[in-house]
């Protein structure tokens, strides 16, 4: 969904402020929330994509005002209710009992300053396995499929991130949609978040690291010396048919148009041309590039 969480490239949030000697948790309840969330995801009452999807649906003003663990708590509670693990009546009764048992100051309370810098979902605790012995159900979650699925793209392929605006959960950031990039890594086959977040199955498919030039994403005043790599699933991508010729990695300008002469050349004639060049000279690669650039 085009939610408030999708903030890559937005302005106005000010400088990044680093806290010296930052504690892992700023209040005891934060640690408790993290542990609860982790236990519940581990026990498969819901999956990580459902968790992210729920945080994204937080009303935007609340999302921005909430701290990181407040968002977690919100999602935890909302999902337990949605899945029918707890009912709202049960929950309110439990809150009343907790209130009677003592103000939130005792037990684990709001002690230290709950630093109001914001954040969001995920950060699902990936922990040392040997440290999980006490956890009732050690994490057996597999989001990658170690089976063979035929990839639709190969490394070096030019692609376009689809211009898609689903109302449901998705992991293709808005700032990448409609933009042209190059497949740089194939990470293997992963569960597809867009369906996994909505109980519509794993829909496993290849996930790739796609390289985008900063100029392609943000405009010509950006540096040619900046590249952004985004992990994108196959269904987020389509082949960039406008750019059949494989240009070398180094691009000095954001020029997306291939040289018109090449476009008109048939594959066969291109090949012939290259063969001739190769015969004439030893520096094959350089010549190939020169031919393609012309």
């Amino acid at each position: 969904m085009n939610g408030v969480h999708d903030i890559g490239g937005m302005h106005g949030f000010g400088p990044v402020v680093r806290e010296e000697n930052e504690p892992v948790f700023h209040a005891d309840w934060e640690g408790r929330t993290a542990a609860l969330m982790r236990s519940v995801v581990t026990d498969r009452l819901f999956n990580i994509d459902e968790f992210r999807r729920t945080i994204e649906r937080m009303p935007p003003a609340s999302y921005l005002a909430a701290t990181y663990y407040e968002r977690w708590l919100y999602a935890l509670q909302a999902l337990l209710l949605e899945k029918g693990v707890v009912s709202s009546a049960e929950l309110e009764a439990a809150v009343s009992r907790a209130r009677e048992a003592g103000a939130p100051g005792d037990g684990y309370g709001d002690t230290a300053s709950d630093s109001a810098q914001t954040s969001s979902a995920d950060a699902s605790a990936g922990l040392h396995r040997r440290d999980q012995a006490a956890s009732p159900q050690p994490s057996g979650i597999a989001l990658r499929y170690d089976r063979n699925y035929k990839p639709r793209f190969t490394i070096g392929d030019k692609v376009v991130a689809r211009n898609m605006n689903p109302e449901g959960h998705t992991r293709v950031p808005r700032y990448a949609r409609g933009k042209h990039g190059v497949i740089r890594h194939d990470w293997g086959v992963f569960v597809f978040p867009d369906t996994h977040a909505h109980g519509q199955g794993a829909n496993p498919q290849h996930c790739y690291s796609v390289e985008f030039d900063a100029r392609e994403l943000w405009g010509p005043d950006h540096s040619v010396r900046e590249r952004i790599y985004i992990d994108l699933w196959e269904d987020y991508l389509e082949a960039d048919r406008a750019q059949r010729s494989a240009t070398p990695r180094q691009k000095s300008a954001p020029a997306k148009k291939p040289a018109p002469t090449i476009k008109r050349m048939s594959a066969a004639s291109t090949k012939k041309g290259l063969v001739r060049v190769v015969k004439k000279s030893g520096t094959t690669k350089a010549k190939k590039r020169a031919v393609r650039k012309r």
């Binding site: 930052e22 993290a34 439990a94 914001t118 969001s120 950060a123 922990l127 440290d131 590249r227 790599y229």
Partner: protein, 230 residues
């Protein structure tokens, strides 16, 4: 959450936002889930302890220093990161994530962000700092990485290529920082002590002599680990 379904639309926010006191609400949730046999206090205690004291940037620092020290290990780390990290007794493949190690060189500087939420290589760096999860960092890291580095007091030469990795899937990125000049005589242990958390996210570099001798990943991690050993 409202106790009346018909309230949900207009009152959704007010009832769901944890301003009623998050501590109270967490307590209630824990009690309820305990009653239902879904969680138990001891397991939660252990998880909190792990997150607070056992995992942290000292693990990443060990990995990075070992890679500096041992070229064959570095090669394995860059090509088979999960397996190479497991060699050091660290299990990274939890909750379905997989590691990727990005090597910084004099020409290429990598930095990591998660614009959509806050994905972070927890197995090797522990829980993320607040700034990593902040809207400020998430918004700007992809569009103005040099500006963000400036916020961290880091100014890289113009000819260094910056690669920003937006962790939008289940890959978790660890930056292998550059080994600073003049450290050839140091032992692996001494190297570990130089490596900061921020240098493994890519918002810092490793300096020698260290800029902040008391705040390296190793010293933070070590003190925490020794307190809770045994």
């Amino acid at each position: 959450m409202s106790t009346h379904d018909h309230d949900q639309d207009h009152d959704h926010d007010a009832h769901n936002a944890p301003e009623s006191g998050p501590a109270l609400r967490v307590k209630a949730l824990e009690a309820l889930l305990t009653e239902k046999g879904i969680v138990n206090a001891q397991a939660l205690d252990e998880l909190v302890d792990t997150m607070e004291h056992r995992i942290g940037p000292h693990i990443g620092a060990r990995i990075a220093a070992h890679a500096w020290f041992d070229a064959a290990y570095k090669k394995r780390l860059l090509t088979q990161p999960d397996a190479a990290i497991a060699e050091l007794g660290v299990e990274t493949r939890v909750l379905g994530t997989h590691m990727v190690v990005l090597e910084n060189t004099p020409r290429v500087h990598n930095m990591v962000v998660c614009t959509l939420c806050s994905c972070y290589p927890i197995a090797v760096l522990g829980l993320p700092p607040v700034w990593y999860k902040s809207t400020a960092y998430r918004a700007r890291a992809v569009s103005d990485p040099r500006g963000v580095l400036h916020d961290f007091g880091l100014s890289l030469p113009d000819d260094v290529e910056i690669r920003v990795w937006d962790s939008s899937a289940e890959l978790r990125f660890l930056v292998l920082p550059e080994r600073p000049a003049g450290t050839e005589h140091l032992s692996e242990e001494e190297l570990v002590a130089l490596i900061t958390r921020d240098s493994m996210i890519g918002t810092g570099i490793v300096t020698y002599p260290p800029k902040y001798p008391l705040k390296t990943a190793a010293t933070e991690g070590k003190s925490a680990a020794s307190e809770h050993r045994g």
